[in-house]
């Protein structure tokens, strides 16, 4: 009886507070929601609409239906290579990045100067990608440092960026370098949060170093690995800046990417509708891969 009498006023107070808060939340959310609608949601819809039209920068807009999509592989010789390169970039970058960053994160954690290393490896992340591209172009020059090093080891230095066989790999190295610090930082944070006592108990039970690593530490870090994989996948699909500045997609089409294809079609050829189609294809690709990731995570990601 007394319990009920006490609970009732609490509930009304709760309800009043909620009503109060709802009104306030609406006000506090207005700028953000308005901006999100105008600058993200509306353009998203517009992107799909644009892809269904022949939409020149200047001139008449005519309905195209799915023509822009149908022509991607037939009339547009750049899209096929761009899609292929983008997928190859992603397939190379994601696994190499993850293996290296997890490895180095553990290595750095063993050092007394771990904080320093985290900052040092983060430097390329905050470096403007145009500057990154220029820096590496300097190193990759035929008479530059890397050719000299290759020559020292008796190798015939390739013309890194100018030969179709080495250009893509050379760009991959730059992108790996650029993104390295970000994932390493994520993994460093995860390593810091590993439960010391559990690991100590395991080693008391006679678990060796490799067993602790593969059966305890890495499984505990799967949420971080999942997050880093997702972000790196999405970023790899969106590669533009580095190849644009270093190779302009060349030689030939050997380093052209989907985003570069979108940019060139829209803003150099002035065909916005034709450019919107590959952009949508890219988005769907990202969406599908991310969804597969999300549904697959139950199989290997361990949440406590």
């Amino acid at each position: 009886m007394t319990a009920l009498a006490e609970r009732a006023p609490v509930r009304t107070r709760d309800r009043r507070r909620r009503r109060n808060d709802t009104r306030a939340a609406l006000a506090f959310l207005t700028p953000s929601a308005a901006g999100l609608t105008v600058f993200i949601l509306f353009p998203s819809v517009l992107a799909i609409a644009t892809s269904l039209f022949h939409w020149p920068t200047y001139g008449d807009i005519t309905f195209a239906g799915l023509d822009n999509y149908a022509e991607l592989f037939s009339a547009r010789s750049d899209f096929g290579p761009a899609l292929l390169n983008t997928v190859v970039f992603t397939l190379l970058i994601v696994p190499i990045n993850l293996v290296l960053t997890v490895g180095v994160a553990f290595w750095v954690a063993s050092s007394r100067f771990r904080q320093l290393y985290r900052v040092l490896f983060f430097i390329p992340v905050v470096t403007p990608s145009v500057a990154t591209a220029i820096i590496w172009k300097l190193l990759y020059q035929p008479d530059g440092v890397l050719s000299w090093v290759a020559g020292m080891f008796g190798a015939t230095p390739p013309n890194f960026l100018a030969s179709p066989s080495s250009a893509l790999l050379s760009v991959v190295v730059v992108i790996l370098w650029n993104g390295f610090g970000y994932n390493m930082l994520i993994f460093s944070a995860a390593i810091d949060q590993l439960p010391e006592d559990v690991l100590a108990a395991a080693s008391l039970d006679g678990a060796g170093r490799w067993r602790t690593m593969f059966q305890m530490k890495l499984p505990l870090m799967t949420p971080a690995i999942f997050f880093a994989t997702t972000v790196t996948l999405i970023q790899s699909f969106q590669i533009f800046n580095e190849p644009y500045v270093m190779t302009a997609g060349g030689p030939g089409t050997s380093t052209i990417t989907v985003v570069m294809n979108v940019y060139q079609t829209a803003f150099q050829s002035g065909q916005l509708g034709e450019a919107a189609a590959p952009a949508i294809v890219l988005f769907v690709l990202i969406l599908v891969v991310t969804l597969v990731q999300w549904t697959g995570q139950k199989k290997w990601v361990q949440y406590e």
Partner: protein, 277 residues
């Protein structure tokens, strides 16, 4: 045994230091090369330092290109963008992290979903929108389109939601409105996470390239540093010494921010990155 372990430790430290040095070699080499005379940049064998220490490269960057203008433009865009992002995100984060209302978590999820839409998909419709607004070649076109992403809201919400609701209740007892609570209590407490978001946003705007490339015709008047750097690179194909000095100038502000605020920035990114799972 003990000595053996200690040597192994030192060897490990030395090896790691060497790897870090190798990793940073491109940056180090670029900085030292920026002081070389042009004819010494490509040499066999390469050298770290030139025969003379040529400060003049930096002077000539500013003489040969409107680089000072690019820097000023970049600062205007970055500071303007950062202020808007901070204001908008903090307000929204108060609603998501502090206030209690029906549908809050679902709305937050919807916000997070918008982070999936890549900028690359939005550039064409955004360009059309800017044309419609008559904003091509304006500050607002450079700043506004990317100021409303959910990342800032999410980052601040993560921090706000760790604050006890009793704080808000207590301040209401004292007769504070939500606005006053937000301004006088929450914002001061959130200073570290606001700083992280500010630095990160500044860096993102400062480094932005694809959108300025699209939204700006008059690079001199509105171009930021990466855009200026790119045109400079195209026009001065021969004088590597100037291009390299210009690149170093473009790196300097973000590098400085990272080194000054490393503790907060690194911690902030690490924790938010993880929470983003």
């Amino acid at each position: 045994m003990r000595i053996g372990r200690r040597t192994a430790r030192s060897a490990n430290e030395v090896a790691l230091a060497l790897v870090a040095l190798l990793f940073l070699f491109p940056v180090i080499f670029t900085i030292t090369s920026s002081f070389k005379p042009n004819n010494e940049i490509f040499q066999s064998p390469p050298s770290l330092w030139g025969s003379e220490f040529r400060w003049q490269n930096y002077v000539e960057v500013f003489q040969n290109a409107p680089f000072l203008q690019y820097i000023i433009n970049g600062i205007i865009q970055s500071v303007g963008g950062t202020l808007i992002v901070l204001a908008v995100s903090a307000l929204a984060a108060y609603a998501f992290g502090i206030l209690r209302w029906r549908g809050r978590d679902q709305s937050m999820l919807a916000y997070l979903a918008t982070m999936m839409i890549p900028q690359e998909v939005l550039v064409i419709p955004m360009f059309l929108l800017m044309q419609k607004f008559g904003w091509i070649n304006t500050w607002q076109a450079l700043i506004l389109p990317w100021a409303f992403g959910a990342f800032g809201t999410f980052l601040l919400r993560q921090f706000f939601s760790t604050l006890p609701y009793e704080l808000v209740e207590a301040s209401r007892m004292d007769g504070c409105s939500n606005w006053r609570t937000f301004m006088k209590i929450i914002l001061p407490l959130a200073r570290p996470s606001l700083a992280v978001l500010a630095v990160w946003t500044f860096i993102t705007y400062w480094n932005s390239f694809l959108w300025p490339l699209i939204a700006v015709n008059d690079i001199h008047a509105l171009g930021n540093v990466p855009l200026g750097l790119q045109t400079f690179f195209g026009e001065h194909g021969a004088s590597w010494n100037l291009i390299i000095a210009a690149s170093v100038i473009s790196i300097a502000p973000t590098l400085l921010l990272l080194l000054l605020l490393q503790k907060h920035l690194v911690k902030g990114i690490a924790t938010v990155g993880l929470a983003g799972r």
